[in-house]
Every structure is written in C-alpha cells, then in structure tokens.
C-alpha cells in the first residue's frame, strides 16, 4: 500500500484538515500524513471502540437513572438468570451427564446448536433491521469519524446490548451442565462450540436484517405493507417454530434427540456436534469438520460484509417517501356528530397514515398468537374458539389501542391540548371512540361471521351485543390504568420511538381482559341456553355492575387526573 500524496490529502478526497473523506482518510489529525491501510484500520477500530463504549455507557446511565428501568432489569436478570435455568435444570443436568457419559448425545446437541443459531439469527436480524438511529447519526458520520468506524461501533454496541440479555441464562445453563457432567470439560467444550454458531448466526442475521431494510427502502414500501409483512412473518415464524418444537419433542415432552430432517437436511449441526465433542468420545465426521470450517469463516466474513454494507447504507441518500403525503381529508359521517367523534376520526386518520402508532400492541399480538395455539394444532376448532376469542381480542384492542397512555403519547402536543380544551374529557372520549372502532372491527367484523357459521342467530346477536359492552368497559378501564401509570418518556419499542404505554400495565390488562371477558363469554352461552331467566338476570346484573365500575370508574379517574395534569408531571 502506498502512503499516498505527501500534501496531506487523500487522492480524490477533499482537503478536510485530516477529517476522513471519500474513502481516502488521513489518520485523523489535522496536518498529519495520509493514512496507510493499517493505520486506517487502527483508527477505525479505535473510533469504533470509543463510539461503542460511549453508547453502552449512555445505556447504563439511562438504566441507572430510572428506578423503573432498574426494576425491569432486575426482573429480567431474575427471569433469565434464575427462573429459566431452574425450569431447565433437569434438561441441562441430564444433558451434562449424557455429554460426560463417553457417548455424547449428538442429536440433542444438534437441537441445542439449532436453538442457538435461531437465537443468533433473530438477534442479528432484529438489530440489522431496526436502525432507527441511523438517521440521527448521519450528520455525525459526515462530519466526524469515518463511516466504517461508525458502522463498526454501532454493530458492536448493538450486538453487545442485544446479547447481554442472554448472558445470565447462558452462564447458568453452563453451570448446570457442569453439575450434570461433574466437571468443567463438557461445559467448556459446549461454550467453545456454541460461540461460532451464535456469532455466525448473528452475522448472517445482521446481513439479512440489513437486506430487508435496504429492500424496503429501495422498493419504497409503504408503512402498511411493512406492517402486513411484519405480521405475516410473525405468524409464519410462530407457526413454524411451534411445529418445529413439537416435531422435536417426544411423547413425554423431552427432546426427541434429532433435528427434524425436513428443516436441515443432512443433520449438519449433529455432525458439527460430533467434531465439537470429539474429546468426550464422539465420532467426528468429515461433514462436521466442513461445518466447523464454514462457521469459523462465516464469523469474520459475515461481520466484515455487514460493516461494509451498513457503511454504504449510512452514506446513501434516502430515496425519500413522497407517496400520499398530500391531500386533506374531511371528517366523514357519522364522525361529524360531536367534537369527540371528530377527534376520534383524527386518531384513526393518523393511524391509517402511520400504523406505527399502534406498535405498542405487539405484546397483545404475541399473546393472542400464543393463545391461538390450539387453532394451529386443530384448524377445525376455529369456528368454536374463533367467536369468543375475537370478542375478547376486540375488547382488548378497543382499550389498548388509544387509551392505555392517554396524553402520554401526546406529550409533544400537550401545550396545545391543555390550553385548548375546557376538559380533556372530549379528548378521552375521542380516544375511546377510536378504540371502539378498531376493537369492534375485530370483535364483530371477525367474530360475527364465524359465530353465524357455527351457532344460532340469537347466540350471534348476544355475543355481538356483549362485544360492544365489553369493548366499552375495556376502553374505560384502559383509561383508568393509563391515568394511574402514565408514561411520558419516549422509548424505542418494535423499532418505533415514542411514549409507549407501560408494558407491564399492558400485559396485566391483557390477562385481566382475558379473565373478565372469558367469564362474560361463558355467561352469554349459558344465558342463551338457560331455561330460567332469574339466575342469568342476577348474574348479568352483578357482571355488568363490575364492568361499569371498572369502565366508568376508569373514565372518571382519567378525566379527573388529566384535567389537573401539568407539565411538571411530564
């Protein structure tokens, strides 16, 4: 490599006083000699390290500065470092015993490596796709450290942050394997063998995430298309992993011992396990050696490719999004009826233009997918489970969509909202109405056709009526929860940065809704078939009183709380 011209400029680059330019940087100091490729790499690594360290330090300070975040980290540390390892104690110690038995269980080891690879792919893919901060660091890239250092630093810090969550689990599981194996050799080999699998998957996942992000930019995919693709991928991923896990389990729920051949033909991960555990008596095969070599090569090559591509993406001018960004829409009937209804229309309109407003519904989606497991196993149950599930899901959405953090997610507009309304009630009722529209689309729009196909008209009408009542109560209750646990600080969730509702409150609301809604759905079915009116009437009186207490009470509490809200509390 040549040292380049001696006048302090890189050939073809601008004279920037030592600032990195179009691929021909100097060594970073004004007036210094042009950089050799070695010094460039050294400088990039140094700058990347500084950037990653700074990002990680900011993250740690951010967590330390908030009691809520500290509590959340403590909870995660408990769940990942204690709870999961305890649940897996039998499996992990049994695996350790088997590893040290002189005939390592390669099938089980292959499944374990498969799980680690999936984890790496997910972590890498998610961090590669979610590059929300890329726009924010763009100007920094163009005016300070080299783009390569920027990509390297961000890749490092994001990978460390995403991986850190799994470290307590990994350490605890390795300790359990050590207990089962009665020695450190088996867990040490497992750790050493797992690392290339995870890192290679992380690098490949990152590239995949980058590719999806790049494709969506180039194709100028609309936000709605992205949301629909995301939902489709989530459902397919969920169903796929569900079938994968069930295929990998034996009748007793233990590991079946081999990866289903349909997923990875030739069982390469088992072959890799043969190489990894050869010191413990496994029989290594040439395929295993090849897989090991490929994994070891994939780590540096994958990360290098990811850094190069992300550098390119950082410097690339965004094509911009001109689609449908003009044209005002009036308020259609029946939303013209009241100020609240007009406000509701504006929330729906904003959501239609930017569906990311509902990103906080992610946990609900995952919860519903989990609860819909029986339908995946037995599609015929859709007509039985579908109507009540749609009713409860709709009521949950009615509350969770706009009412879980009222005014919190309007934080930037509070000066307008608080100085324009005599009471925030108009705004809160608007949110309830908007939530009802979405919730009833699901509860009645999906539930009613399924119900008609499977039950009587009376049952269908009763369930639809109940859906309206439950949705209304759900929205009111959600307002109350939002008044008790408002969130004004912005945070990133599902790649969307805004003041999302409290996740814990959302999950509690989901389970509460499931419980209360489940009782109501049962009561609907029971009342329709009941021979006497007295008992159902008493039961419904009590039930509706409870709904009114929670729904109405939540609404009143929210109006009182937010009518007195000041910016001091935000």
């Amino acid at each position: 490599m040549s040292d380049g011209p001696a006048d302090g400029r890189g050939s073809g680059g601008r004279s920037t006083g030592g600032r990195p330019t179009d691929g021909q940087p100097t060594d970073g100091r004004p007036g210094s000699r042009p950089a050799t490729w070695r010094s460039r790499i050294r400088n990039d690594v140094r700058d990347a390290r500084v950037l990653a360290r700074t990002e990680l330090r900011c993250r740690v300070r951010d967590v330390r500065g908030s009691a809520r975040k500290l509590l959340s980290v403590a909870f995660m540390a408990f769940a990942f470092g204690v709870f999961f390892p305890l649940v897996l104690w039998g499996v992990a110690t049994g695996f350790g015993r088997a590893l040290a038995s002189g005939s390592p269980p390669l099938g089980t080891a292959g499944v374990a490596f498969g799980g680690i690879a999936v984890l790496g792919l997910y972590v890498g893919g998610a961090s590669g796709f979610n590059q929300e901060a890329a726009g924010a660091v763009g100007p920094l890239v163009r005016t300070s450290i080299s783009p390569t250092a920027m990509s390297l630093g961000r890749l490092g810090s994001e990978s460390i942050q995403a991986t850190a969550v799994g470290v307590p689990t990994a350490v605890a599981l390795l300790l359990e394997v050590a207990v089962g194996a009665r020695g450190p050799v088996a867990p040490a080999l497992l750790a050493v063998a797992s690392l290339p699998v995870f890192l290679a998957a992380l690098a490949v996942g990152r590239l995949l995430g980058d590719a999806i992000r790049y494709a969506s930019e180039v194709l100028r995919v609309s936000l709605w298309t992205k949301v629909l693709v995301f939902l489709a991928v989530t459902v397919v991923g969920y169903v796929g992993s569900y079938r994968f896990v069930y295929a990998g389990l034996d009748e007793t729920g233990g590991l079946a011992g081999a990866l289903p051949p349909a997923f990875l033909p030739g069982a390469p991960l088992q072959a890799y396990a043969g190489v990894a555990f050869a010191p413990l008596g496994a029989d290594p095969r040439p395929l295993g050696g090849l897989v090991a070599a490929l994994l070891l090569a994939a780590v540096p090559l994958g990360f290098a490719a990811a850094v190069r591509w992300e550098t390119h993406l950082l410097l690339r001018e965004s094509p911009g999004d001109e689609e449908q960004t003009s044209g005002s829409r009036g308020v259609p009937w029946p939303f013209t009826a009241t100020p609240s209804a007009r406000v509701a229309w504006r929330y729906l309109l904003r959501t239609r233009r930017d569906p990311r407003m509902l990103a906080h519904l992610g946990p609900l989606l995952f919860g519903m997918l989990g609860m819909g497991a029986s339908v995946f196993r037995n599609p015929g149950s859709l007509l039985t489970v579908g109507p009540p599930a749609a009713t409860i899901a709709g009521a949950t959405v009615a509350g969770a969509a706009y009412c879980m953090n009222p005014l919190g997610d309007d934080r930037d507009q509070l000066p307008l909202l608080l100085t324009s309304t005599r009471s925030v009630a108009v705004l809160l009722r608007g949110r309830v109405l908007a939530g009802l529209v979405l919730g009833l689309l699901l509860a009645v729009g999906v539930g009613t056709p399924l119900s008609i196909a499977s039950t009587s008209v009376v049952s269908t009408l009763a369930l639809a009526g109940f859906a309206v009542v439950l949705s209304l109560a759900g929205a009111g209750t959600a307002l109350g929860i939002g008044a008790v646990l408002p969130r004004f600080e912005r945070r990133e969730y599902m790649s969307v940065e805004r003041a999302h509702p409290s996740t814990i409150a959302l999950i509690c609301y989901l389970f509460g809704g499931l419980f209360v809604g489940g009782i109501g759905v049962f009561m609907v079915a029971w009342s329709v078939d009941a021979h006497s009116l007295l008992l159902p009437a008493i039961a419904w009186t009590v039930y509706l009183a409870v709904l009114a207490l929670f729904g109405g009470g939540g609404y009143v509490a929210a109006v009182r709380k937010f009518d007195r809200l000041t910016l001091d509390e935000t």
């Binding site: 960004t325 005002s328 308020v331 406000v343 309109l349 904003r350 507009q413 608080l418 324009s420 001091d568």
Partner: protein
C-alpha cells in the same frame, strides 16, 4: 385582584424546582391591547413564567390571572388564551388544514366559524398553498406558521407567543410581526417572549426583562434604551438588555 383593563396580572408569582428557583416573586401587570415583550437570557425563567400564566404548570407561590381568570383555573382560562410554545405542538401525520380543524374541534368551535380568519392568516403568511401537505414534510418555518395560526385562529383575548419568529425567513418574520400588531390593534394582548431584540424594539409597547427569575426592569423600549449606558445617545435595546442582565460582554458593546 384584577382590574378591568388589566389583561395579565401576576402577584409574587414563584416557581421552584427542588432547590432551584426558576421564577422568584414576579409581579406583572400587562394592560389589554398591548404587545408586551418578555426578554431574558437563556434559563432566566421566561418559558416557566409563560407556562404558569397559561396554566400549564402550577406556581409554587403567588398568584396570576389572565383576563381576571386565575391561571390555576384552566377550564375557564382556555377561552381567553392562545399559546404558541417554543416547539410547535403539531401532529406530523395530519396536513396543516387538518391540524387547524383539529385545534378548532378541541375548542368545540366549528371550523366554519374560524376558517375565514385561519385561511386569511395562512394566506398572509404564504402558507395557504401548503395547507394540504402533511406536516411531516413541513420546514421548521412552515410548522411555526401553522402553530401561530392555530394559536390565534379563535381570536383569543390574550396570545402568548414563545419565540414566534424562530425558523422564519425575513419576509415571513416581517409578515408575522405585522400580524402581531394587527392582533394588538383588535384590543387583544400579546405576550411575546423572544431573543430577537429588534423584533421587540419594533413592535412591543412595553418590555419586561427577566434575569435569574427576577423581573429586573420594565418599561417602554425607548425608556429602557434611554436608561442604558447612562443615557448614551447611541444606546439601543441590546445595550439595555446586556446591562440589565449583567452579561460579561456588556462592556464591549460600544
């Protein structure tokens, strides 16, 4: 506590955040129909004062009223005030027109009753052609103009403007100044906080200078200017401001 011709009245208004006193024992009396320029260095307490006067934060001590309505009574206060905060409170997903209609709905005012005035202001501010574009695509100046129209379209008795010319080009800034004068001419009161001293010098009837939470001077711009630099003939409002706020560079002014 209030007098009929007094639009804004503050009596010992105080705001503390922990051990920090943002506004300390502030007394103010702003007459109706005037443009009141509220000056002060960064962190002097201007925004906090404005927030107390519009009911957005609660005073720690003292009292204030706008048009005779206590500032802690936000329910009645909203009918009297219009606020343009430092950061335009707009929704990116709406168009300018939809945003203005939304603001009218919040006040329970039919759009038809305010649309003439709103559109006239937009026309004057050269915003009319962009009203049907989404705010996410607006420049800083366009967002500022939209927020200004939003703050005044319902003809409030008192308008609070925090840095209204921020991000505006010279032509738009001049138009905005003329709109502010029109508002005052219609007997409304304008409470104007800005760092741009020539703006205050040009349009304010009265000026208050806040420093470290204290009102250190109050009077007509020419009175403050005359008092600056010991009455030097070539002193201007900037000299007065620097002198009153004890900026280290004040002595270098002239």
């Amino acid at each position: 506590m209030t007098e009929p011709s007094t639009a804004i009245l503050a009596d010992g208004l105080t705001k503390r955040y922990g051990s920090t006193t943002a506004v300390d024992d502030l007394d103010l009396a702003v007459e109706s129909g005037v443009v009141y320029g509220f000056l002060g260095p960064n962190g002097a307490g201007k925004t906090t004062t404005m927030r107390m006067l519009t009911g957005l934060v609660e005073p720690t001590g003292g009292a204030a009223s706008v048009g005779g309505t206590p500032c802690t009574n936000r329910r009645d206060l909203v009918d009297r005030v219009g606020l343009l905060p430092e950061k335009p409170p707009l929704y990116d997903e709406l168009t300018g027109r939809e945003q203005l209609q939304f603001a009218a709905d919040l006040r329970n005012v039919r759009w038809e009753t305010v649309s003439d005035r709103a559109l006239e202001l937009c026309e004057a501010l050269d915003l009319a052609e962009d009203l049907d574009r989404r705010i996410e695509g607006y420049s800083k100046g366009m967002a500022q103009k939209t927020a200004f129209v939003q703050a005044v379209q319902h003809d409030p008795a008192v308008v609070f403007l925090d840095e209204p010319t921020s991000g505006l080009d010279p032509r738009a800034a001049r138009t905005l100044r003329s709109q502010i004068l029109d508002i005052a001419a219609s007997d409304a009161t304008v409470f104007l906080s800005t760092h741009i001293l020539p703006v205050v010098e040009e349009i304010a009837d009265e000026v208050g200078v806040l420093h470290d939470g204290h009102l250190v001077a109050e009077g007509a711009p020419d009175e403050l200017t005359a008092a600056a630099q010991g009455g030097a003939n070539d002193a201007d409002l900037e000299d007065a401001f620097l002198e009153l706020t004890n900026e280290p560079d004040a002595a270098l002014g002239r």
